[in-house]
Assembly symmetry: C2
Homo-oligomer: 84 residues x 2
């Protein structure tokens, strides 16, 4: 079966996000001053083959822990769906 995992990898809340601060300032300069906070991370879309959803989930977790996320500074969340 083919699955699609939509993964979000974000900096931990306690970690300073200079990129987010820069974007917030940029938006303010463009007249969008209602933005109170900006946090920027990665969105990764994985297509993978697996026998079932549990196996797919284990693969996704393993990929996040081994390569995609730096668990010291980031956390990850994911949504797995069967590909039509």
């Amino acid at each position: 079966m083919r699955f699609v995992a939509e993964i979000d990898i974000m900096p931990l809340k306690e970690i300073l996000d200079p990129q987010g601060k820069a974007v917030k300032l940029g938006l303010k300069n463009l007249g969008i001053s209602q933005v109170e906070d900006v946090r920027i991370g990665k969105h990764i879309s994985l297509e993978l083959e697996a026998d079932n959803e549990n196996v797919a989930e284990e693969l996704v977790k393993s990929a996040c822990k081994k390569l995609l996320a730096n668990l010291i500074m980031e956390d990850y969340s994911y949504k797995i769906t069967v590909m039509a």
Copy 2:
């Protein structure tokens, strides 16, 4: 009212994604060879003040068009929720 917008900005499907190819190879080298395709983009979380959800949505669209997404090479999707 305060809203949170979760925005995904991804390279257009037709555009080559060298970063995605590199991650796919990296996963394979780590023994995760069931991954067929990898696409990498940005996930941006915005906190903003707005009178209602429609106003919040207009602000998010404006922020994406003006600064967050390069519409020549990327497309964006978003989910807006009221902050508790």
